[in-house]
Assembly symmetry: C2
Amino acid sequence: MKISAQEEYGLRCLVQLAGTSKDESLTLPQIAEREGISQSNAGKLMWLLNKAGFVTATRGTKGGYSLSRPAEDISLSEVIKVLEDDEVEAHCGSYTGVLDSCVHTGDCGIRSVIVGLHEVVQNALSNVSLAQLVGTEKKVDETFHRIQGLSQVAMIKDGRAVSE
Amino acid sequence: MKISAQEEYGLRCLVQLAGTSKDESLTLPQIAEREGISQSNAGKLMWLLNKAGFVTATRGTKGGYSLSRPAEDISLSEVIKVLEDDEVEAHCGSYTGVLDSCVHTGDCGIRSVIVGLHEVVQNALSNVSLAQLVGTEKKVDETFHRIQGLSQVAMIKDGRAVSE
DNA sequence: TCAAATCTTTACTTTTGAGTCAAGATTGCA
DNA sequence: TGCAATCTTGACTCAAAAGTAAAGATTTGA
């Protein structure tokens, strides 16, 4: 379970914009420099984010990119959904080994794990907004640890999960 | 955020063993056939799982693989930790763009997300055992949805997260 | 209108992960 | 002992993701 380069860099570019005052915009060279990536790469990412409606691009002198919506209203789950390139829906069609379709037809425990995991991740991400990533680590840490703690408690109280 | 081929197939091979009666073992050709992957690929995966101590391998005629511990005692979080090839600890050393180290030194909101996400996933997985994956989808679904529901409730009650 | 600044798009190259192959080592059985 | 079944290991090939490059399109301002 790993975040892809596209997800990470794309998110970072958005956070740069979120940290820029509302009436200003950032150009491709600026974004590239601030994130330590090439201008070409930044260009591709911003193109994706523009297509998805997160940013507005203006061409010509004095052009650049800015967020289309307030950073507070953009949740990470939306962003990641756009930046990740495969859908969970299609899962049974990938990882089919040497065959055309997955050997596990019908009732499949693995599938549940994949889907369940994706839900857990999306749920966690839906509780964090772009705006929260601008400042220090504290706010984010707090959010995740709250989710963390509660799940833990639930599992212990329930008791069945691990020792079933 | 995506599960790798190694994680998926490795897990599936283990589930095959978990579904085999305690005194029996499965050979490489058997595992490969049941999961629809090549024998070579299965060999590599089982070698990893053997090295990590999840399975015991016996060579020679009548040999094969079997679980080293009861399936009920093996949690998915342990398994995934072994099958995923990069550590979260090393995160700031990957995705450094064209530079040698990440441009975000010190206090970094992105890092929190990566680490927090990993914790959420590991926590969810620690509540599912190999044994639970053998049967139908129901048990797994239940577990994940329980985690899901509780996080959701917590966020709503708290209220700050999304609309801060 | 023209040139400079900027985004857009497609094609190409590089890198990394996935998968295969083949030779080697160990065990059981006749 | 010797052969057949089985796991082990490292090198190799292939495919997909990541990143780069270059030509094109749009806007602003002189």
